[in-house]
């Protein structure tokens, strides 16, 4: 009591700390309030209202690819088409960037001089030039230099390659598709059975093996078998037809989509490669020597010993790269790919609803990023070191 009385409150560290925090919060609230009222006043003065009613109006614009879209469709649907296009490129981009990054990362540690040097050159060049420059390069210097649509390269299939994109036949379900679908379902059950049986067997004899390969083979066998057993093939390949200007029908990959995907994959993979390399180097040498002593092959060592331990280091920074990839996809505007940012810009131009649409853009990227983080955090918890 006497001791407490000796320290006045303005010199009491605990009080001072609390006071500082309270003052800071008050400052933030006042600042926020000032900005908010100022904004309200300015919005009112310039007669700008805040409303999402415009979303139901016809968009009066065209979108070159993605879900089918008519100019009479609403702004809301136009935005969704943009979101779908972004999602498409981001999802594929993440998968492909991981694969390429993994391969290059491992290659950077290869004992082969040529492989090591080439992958080092790849990483250092791609990592150190701006992405937008790379995208414009892929688009204008590679894809637009492909033959004109009149002189399309015709590959067997028929697959056509031109500066209008890659066009290939699209599978169309026929009458027997439903039956085949059921067969596939059956195959899935069989595959699962085979997988579990093989795992139990391997467990019993205490040997390493690849039960998933057995399961996959069983599935493919049923799928192929039922395909040929059915009186009519369940899928028909519908070839693209040459229209006056473009190919109609079939599966089409536009140069904008391909250039964006390629650019994002190649760029992000360079970063992922470095993360993979760091992760592998983080696994202590003793682990590899132990694996060798057990007589594992190089591939087995990588798959069973090194990568599972390296993943703990690799996963968190890779999540950041995925998030970067998602956000970088907005550079699509530079090459005319109708992603959500591109479409939203047009919506802003035509509706004048800048504030509302920018909030929608932010919300969309936030959602994509948070979903990615959520999944990656879940995965990270699975692979992290379990300490006992």
């Amino acid at each position: 009591m006497t001791k407490a009385a000796r320290i006045p409150f303005w010199r009491d560290l605990r009080v001072l700390r609390a006071l500082a925090q309270v003052l800071f919060v008050i400052f933030v609230i006042l600042l926020g309030n000032w900005l908010y009222t100022n904004l309200q006043a300015n919005l009112k003065r310039t007669n700008i209202s805040f409303s999402y009613d415009f979303l139901q109006q016809p968009a009066s614009m065209g979108i070159s690819e993605g879900l089918p879209f008519q100019p009479t469709d609403s702004y809301q649907y136009a935005f969704w088409v943009g979101v779908f296009n972004t999602f498409r490129v981001v999802f594929l981009g993440m998968i492909l960037a991981t694969l390429v990054g993994l391969i290059v990362g491992v290659a950077r540690l290869s004992s082969n001089w040529l492989v090591r040097t080439l992958s080092a050159i790849y990483v250092e060049t791609l990592r150190n030039t701006p992405l937008v420059v790379q995208l414009v390069f892929w688009y204008t210097a590679v894809f637009l230099k492909l033959p004109r649509v009149d002189e399309s390269l015709e590959l067997p299939g028929p697959i056509y390659l031109s500066q209008r994109g890659l066009v290939m036949p699209q599978p169309q379900p026929t009458e027997s598709f439903a039956l085949w679908g059921m067969a596939l379902g059956g195959g899935l059950v069989v595959a699962l059975g085979v997988y579990i049986a093989r795992r139990i067997y391997l467990e019993r004899v205490q040997r390493p093996g690849t039960p998933w390969l057995w399961g996959l083979s069983a599935f493919l066998l049923t799928a192929l078998g039922s395909w040929f057993l059915l009186p009519q093939a369940p899928l028909r390949w519908e070839p693209p037809v040459r229209g006056i200007f473009n190919f109609e029908g079939g599966m089409q990959f536009t140069p904008e989509f391909t250039a964006l995907l390629l650019g994002l994959v190649i760029y992000t993979a360079a970063f992922i490669a470095e993360i993979v390399r760091a992760g592998i180097l983080a696994v202590s040498k003793g682990q590899k020597e132990a694996a060798r002593a057990l007589g594992l092959t190089d591939f087995q060592m990588l798959r069973l010993i090194v990568l599972p331990q390296a993943l703990r280091v690799i996963v968190p920074p890779t999540t950041s790269q995925y998030l970067n990839l998602a956000k970088n996809s907005s550079l699509a505007v530079a090459i005319g790919y109708p992603d959500l940012f591109n479409v939203a810009n047009t919506i802003i131009n035509q509706s004048g609803r800048a504030i509302e649409v920018i909030l929608m853009i932010m919300g969309s990227y936030l959602t994509i990023s948070l979903l990615t983080s959520l999944f990656m955090n879940w995965y990270n918890r699975r692979v992290r070191l379990v300490e006992r």
Partner: protein, 346 residues
């Protein structure tokens, strides 16, 4: 705390709005004179209208000549202009915020811009319209032939909407490929990615001369929109608005009266009262406008030229004639059946 954060986020996003409308001086002419130069918002990528030559670093074009005319009216020196290249998206904000004194950047006069953005548009200097450029070899001759075509478009104005509306009106489908950058759009069209390119006819004519083989391309005669281009000033300074307006009318009236840069010196002896008032020999018009000298219009004609001279110097080389096959375009003088018409100087 989370709420505070959310509010903070929204506020940070909207922060740029707060600056709109602040710091507008009431006297633009005074500011221009004090500064010693006119700040003119222009385009730098449309040959013939506003174009920056990257080798010499000089601006040229129809709109740029009107910046020069305005500077000549104030300073009797067409060189006293600071050019501020602006994007389509930034131009009105730059004007409203007072970053430029006048915007002469192939800008279409529309209701919403005039009324909602609180701007004043001067006289129309060029009657433009959205058109299409196609390859001569493509067998596209009318708008209907565009059914199924891929069309390169630039984002930022109403171009996309006009295109979609045209397709709906004619019941055809088109695939717009939307770019945010003129160079990327031109490149994509030039390489053959698009079957056609749409923009204002003036912009198409300018883009055509930059293609790898300009003669392989043509501009379809049909236009799908009205785009009257005019100089713009902000609300709140009527004296300045008058100077911009009458600078334009000076060039048009000069053409109507047959006064050009070649004969303006001799015509000082003219007895025609219209010419005498235009050249500042009578009427004290310059001082009434708030300018230093009554010679302002004579100076414009002598140093920049009349409307016809400005047009012929900049727009004619693009292949856009004022009179095509004996038929006047809207940009012909009203005497020839066009719409270029000056308000009388009296």
């Amino acid at each position: 705390m989370r709420k505070v954060f959310t509010v903070g986020l929204v506020v940070a996003l909207l922060l740029p709005l707060l600056t709109i409308g602040q710091g507008q001086p009431t006297d633009t002419l005074g500011r221009v004179k004090a500064r010693g130069s006119l700040i003119c918002g222009v385009n730098n990528a449309v040959p013939g209208f506003g174009f920056l030559d990257e080798r010499t670093g000089t601006f040229s074009g129809f709109d740029v000549d009107y910046c020069k005319a305005l500077a000549t009216a104030i300073f009797n020196d067409p060189a006293k202009v600071t050019y501020r290249p602006l994007t389509a998206a930034a131009r009105f904000t730059a004007l409203s915020a007072g970053e430029v004194d006048v915007l002469i950047r192939n800008t279409t006069w529309t209701f919403s811009r005039d009324v909602e953005l609180k701007l004043n548009f001067g006289p129309v200097t060029f009657y433009d319209g959205q058109g299409f450029m196609v390859r001569k070899a493509s067998r596209i001759n009318t708008l209907r032939d565009l059914n199924g075509a891929t069309i390169c478009v630039l984002q930022g104005t109403t171009t996309e909407q006009n295109l979609a509306d045209m397709a709906r009106r004619l019941g055809i489908t088109i695939r717009p490929l939307v770019f945010t950058d003129v160079t990327a759009r031109d490149k994509a069209y030039d390489e053959g990615r698009c079957d056609a390119m749409t923009a204002d006819a003036s912009g198409l004519a300018g883009a055509r001369v930059r293609l790898s083989r300009p003669d392989d391309h043509k501009i379809l005669p049909e236009l799908i929109s009205k785009e009257p281009l005019a100089p713009v000033v902000r609300h709140g300074d009527d004296t300045w608005y008058d100077i911009v307006k009458w600078t334009v009318y000076c060039t048009i009236e000069a053409e109507e009266l047959g006064v050009s840069s070649r004969n303006v010196a001799q015509l000082r002896t003219s007895t025609d009262p219209n010419i005498r008032r235009l050249l500042g020999l009578e009427g004290d018009f310059g001082r009434k406008l708030g300018l230093d000298s009554n010679d302002w219009c004579a100076n414009i004609i002598a140093k920049v030229g009349n409307y016809g001279e400005i047009y012929d110097r900049n727009v004619k080389p693009l292949g856009l004639e004022r009179i095509v096959d004996g038929k006047p375009s809207p940009n012909a003088s009203w005497n020839d059946g066009g719409l270029i018409y000056a308000i009388p100087f009296r």
